[in-house]
Symmetry: C2
Subunit: 304 residues, 2 copies
């Protein structure tokens, strides 16, 4: 059996999976993001003890543990570098702690890479050899599968499609530079662009989800903003397609739930940004939603 | 022994190499590009017959043949799709012809991929696991090495860094679209930009090489154009670095011979277009020059 863990910002999800990665048992905890790393570690430890015991009792002990972590990790040392959500995760030797506590081989990676693995092994990219995964949520993350393997690069920074420069004169990005894809097309950026353009009377904290709902209800302003977002995304994905010639681009996150409103113009506009010979690549919605992380963690444990 | 062949537009180069890929024997023919594919095929056949005999006579027969072809090829069928230089190469089953004629396993790929292999195995990228190769000549081609493997993608179109869109409002590209990196930074584009900006009195056929020579001789116009070109290249390479996090970018072709004039601003400007955590990636000149193709063909034969 394999144990997959998604350590997100507001919840921890655990899956026991069989040798094919099929889900046998699933547990989820809401977490208190103010409790800090130490409290989170202890909560993870307790749940893992209980799940390992459950697996052993079933006669099929856990062979390996995979962890999706919501922040950058150092693959070589198995340490977390920081959490995007919870203080105190700087330099925690999570892999070694797990192996010491449980005597079970443990693999760790950031949530973008693990999400890509999840969609590739069990979701929209199943059976694919070359795939690009993009998650458009609050920010934009991604992962690259090439030659049937996850591409991590030299410092585990591959897949940072959100920080490709789309227009150097564009808005300031969360990373401090300007004109990144994320500064145009992330959930936060979509909400900002909507407020700037149509926003008199809209609440300060208007969410991208509210805009997607407006678009779904045929609001012309919201719809035009989604089409414009599709063009920005097409530029970023076009660069990825030119470089990697994947058969599939899998798009997840809140934006992907807008369905045809997004995917129809996105697939059309993509042709503007790639060689005619590469036209035919499809951009499709992710299938696993928030489960991509925990399913990908199982794939990680399985040695993907 | 291995046989590597670079079938370029104006010359054919052949290398016999030992088990480590070191060059034992080298032959080069200038070719008549108007003679057509049939004449070229016959000329290739004759030279290969002679080299195979030479290898056998030395007691170390050729185990495999690798071919770098100057145009797109279908990897699965081993056919050439067209030559960029010579008419008649549409759909020639080059791999099967070679295997039939010589009874020797033959591998075929386009010159951008094979050049990447050459620089990776025997040149500037030796020992690297993740590398991006860019060749700035008349056009801009490239190749991607990730996880210690050449990335070909679904239709052998990976590495088309020259056709990433830098600015949708940019010049018309050779591919028919607008604003590709190639439309700003290829040899042809550099010459065009120079003529447009400073060119009264310059000959219609001013070459990019002449501009590089002016820059080398401290001509301020030519130097400013090289710096501007470095910025366009930095944008393209920045997107590749964001996506793949390579340890090295290897830049070949005529432009790379301008040395520090190009590489100094290019390495500085690249930092504008990548995450701070990825800064440290180096853009370095290719080492093999025109030999990248034939050395890469040896790597191809060796099973790279």
């Amino acid at each position: 059996m394999y144990l997959g863990i998604d350590k997100g910002g507001t919840r921890h999800t655990f899956i026991l999976a069989d040798a094919e990665g099929e889900v046998l048992h699933r547990v989820q905890h809401e977490t208190d993001r103010h409790a800090g790393a130490q409290a989170e570690l202890e909560s993870l430890r307790q749940e893992v003890v209980s799940l390992l015991a459950k697996a052993s009792a079933s006669g099929s002990p856990v062979k390996a543990i995979g962890i999706s972590f919501g922040g950058p990790v150092d693959i070589r040392t198995g340490r977390t570098l920081l959490s995007h959500h919870v203080p105190g995760w700087e330099g925690v030797p999570l892999r070694d702690l797990f192996e010491e506590w449980f005597g079970t081989p443990t693999v760790l990676d950031n949530d973008a890479n693990v999400g890509a693995l999840g969609e590739w092994k069990f979701g929209a990219g199943a059976g694919c050899c070359d795939m690009v995964y993009v998650n458009v949520g609050t920010g934009i993350g991604g992962g690259v599968i090439a030659n049937g393997q996850l591409v991590r690069g030299e410092r585990n920074l591959a897949g940072e499609i959100g920080h490709m420069t789309i227009d150097p004169k564009g808005p300031v990005c969360t990373c401090g530079r300007t004109g990144c894809l994320e500064s145009f097309a992330s959930g936060l950026s979509i909400a900002r662009r909507y407020r700037e353009r149509f926003g008199s009377g809209e609440p300060e904290d208007l969410s991208s989800r509210a805009i997607f709902e407006k678009a779904g209800a045929d609001d012309p302003n919201a719809k035009s903003l989604i089409t414009e977002t599709a063009d920005y995304l097409a530029r970023g994905l076009g660069a990825a397609v030119s470089l990697l010639n994947p058969e599939l681009v899998v798009l997840g996150g809140g934006l992907s739930e807008t369905g045809d409103l997004l995917f129809k113009p996105l697939n059309e506009l993509l042709a503007k940004y790639i060689l005619p010979q590469a036209v035919g690549v499809r951009v499709v919605p992710a299938l696993l939603g928030y489960e991509a992380g925990v399913r990908g963690a199982v794939a990680l444990a399985m040695g993907a």
